[in-house]
Symmetry: C2
Subunit: 360 residues, 2 copies
């Protein structure tokens, strides 16, 4: 309709129709979406009922960097906490190629077959670069993924190991509240992630292969020292003799380490994840460990210490972040780093200059 066709002394050109600020269809969509977003209480209730979708949503909140999500995640964790902790947490490590996925699938299936509920998490700080080298490809655990008593979640991504580790550790609480009584935490056998995982599990399992006589090469001492059990995988076919020899070698090497404060003597077993042999022995060993460490209270003490460790670790991390991400500090630090490297300033004088600036 053209207003100029009206019979009127006043002529006014038509404006262009303005669209509504928000279209009604958008409003409907948003409302629908909002209805779909469960509250923290909704999530807690669902998780406690064993709802895996709610569990996944809560873990997504834990992994988020959005302040609202973090707030909500904290509420969910706080609500789940009284129902968590009733589980055994098992760390599993081993260098790439050792067959971790196959082992976890076989071990997980065995556990669900004897009535356990199994959650599989991972700590892999490299996953944000490699797009999930661990557990990223769920098809590697086809059977376990379809098992209704199993829950598999790939490693959180993040820039720092500290961040990834925090997310995994909070996810453990959520999984436990959701009824999972056996938590497997996978990590790659290279570097600092092992220490992080070791400080969040009850039992640490090192997966290994029988090699060509030099089994001890290539495995970091520190990782061997952390292990409560070494499992030599691929003990099948022609490999059985080699695996048995490796078992003897590893046993001898373990013997050289000082006694553990857990009162537990680490041992070595063999298995074939593909042929599903030796899997029950692994579980039996873990059962023995739990018996020993619950009897001597080490189990409980260790968990309390781990909680305290993460409290202090988080504080220390954040204190450092706050300092090193300060824009004024950043440029001054670069100058000072150069000065101390060139012996123009003592490291302590340089540190004092920076700290004076920071605390001014």
């Amino acid at each position: 309709m053209n207003s100029s066709s009206k019979k009127s002394a006043l002529k006014e050109n038509d404006g262009i129709d303005q669209p509504e600020a928000i279209s009604s269809s958008s409003i409907q969509q948003i409302q629908k979406l909002r209805r779909k977003q469960p509250t923290a209480d909704d999530l807690i209730t669902a998780i406690l009922k064993g709802d895996k979708i709610a569990l996944s949503r809560a873990i997504t909140l834990v992994e988020s960097t959005n302040p609202d999500h973090i707030e909500k995640a904290n509420q969910v964790i706080q609500g789940c906490l009284p129902f968590a902790n009733k589980s055994v947490r098992i760390g599993i490590t081993g260098v790439p190629g050792v067959g971790k996925s196959t082992f976890i699938e076989a071990f997980g299936k065995y556990l669900t077959s004897i009535g356990k509920k199994v959650a599989v998490l991972a700590v892999d700080p490299s996953s944000s670069i490699s797009h999930g080298s661990i557990l990223g490809d769920k098809t590697r655990m086809e059977e376990l993924v379809r098992d209704e008593n199993a829950y598999i979640r790939p490693s959180a991504s993040g820039e720092s190991l500290g961040g990834v580790a925090r997310k995994t550790r909070e996810s453990i609480i959520l999984c436990e509240a959701c009824g999972f009584d056996t938590i497997l935490i996978e990590t790659v056998g290279v570097g600092q992630s092992e220490t992080a995982v070791h400080s969040m599990v009850d039992f640490f399992l090192l997966l290994n292969l029988a090699g060509a006589g030099d089994e001890l090469q290539g495995i970091k001492r520190g990782i061997m020292e952390m292990a409560d059990l070494i499992v030599i995988n691929k003990a099948d076919g022609d490999n059985i003799t080699k695996a048995k020899l490796a078992k003897t070698e590893f046993n001898r090497a373990l013997h050289m380490f000082p006694a553990k404060s857990s009162g537990w003597n680490p041992s070595v077993t063999t298995c074939s994840a593909i042929q599903k042999t030796g899997i029950d022995t692994t579980w039996q060993t873990i059962q023995n460990y739990l018996f020993v460490t619950k009897e001597n209270s080490y189990f409980e003490t260790k968990r309390a210490n781990q909680n305290q460790y993460w409290l202090l670790e988080t504080i220390n991390d954040q204190l450092k972040n706050h300092f090193y991400n300060n824009s004024e500090i950043e440029s001054l630090l670069e100058q000072n780093k150069k000065a101390v490297q060139n012996n123009e300033k003592s490291p302590f004088a340089a540190a004092q200059e920076l700290l004076k600036k920071y605390f001014k």
Copy 2:
């Protein structure tokens, strides 16, 4: 003289004679003392001339907690820095009883006999409790103490390893500026002090004994992994065969560690500090090490990295001190520690609460 004896209408009682605010003899004493306190520039000049008394005074300033002394110490260090760094820094460790003092005396005397100037420092955080277990009793190094080309300084005391390590590290700079070209830093073979010493020396020497077949027992793996040379002491008399056997064992053990980024293959030698045999071999090995690592630039890179390490380490230490010594934080931290140990709060939620308070 009594004023009342004066012929006068006005009678006034005598007051008691007041002593001068500061007696003239005190003033003289203080003035004398002030004259004796050299300025930072005085100290620098004297140190650069090789004056051991000035060196000791400067180290005392470095060890002081008095802010004026710290300020002055920093000036002296800054002035000495351009003349430091021209030395080899050797860390020496070994469990108590291995004969460290005897070895250092024999080694030090050998070094001065070939024209070296030797400074012996120590890192022993326990010394404040045990009143100087290392080097505290200088009579243990009677000959070296009287040697004009040697300088021996017991471990600084302090509450934290970080503090003790800082003081030792700054003392190295002063000793070098004073003309000492070979710095020996002693520490006990138990715990964290080794890591601190390792990060301030060019070469790390582990002193050991031949035992009853179980040489590897009791030595922390981490310490063996740090060693550039293992010296088996007390290879004399009936002990020679055992020492040779131990040498073979240690060589085999060293072989199991991954290759070092220095390009240097750690080795094992035997010596008798009491009979002064094998001491020259030790020095020859260190010379070889210096040749290899100066050739491949590792020596220089390591020192630059060590400077940067101490810069960051000092910052991180101070950030923590500032937080944990905050009186408001202290009590809140205790509450939160208990809460996380009892699973009433997640470690991360507790950390956030504390950090919010701190950064408010």
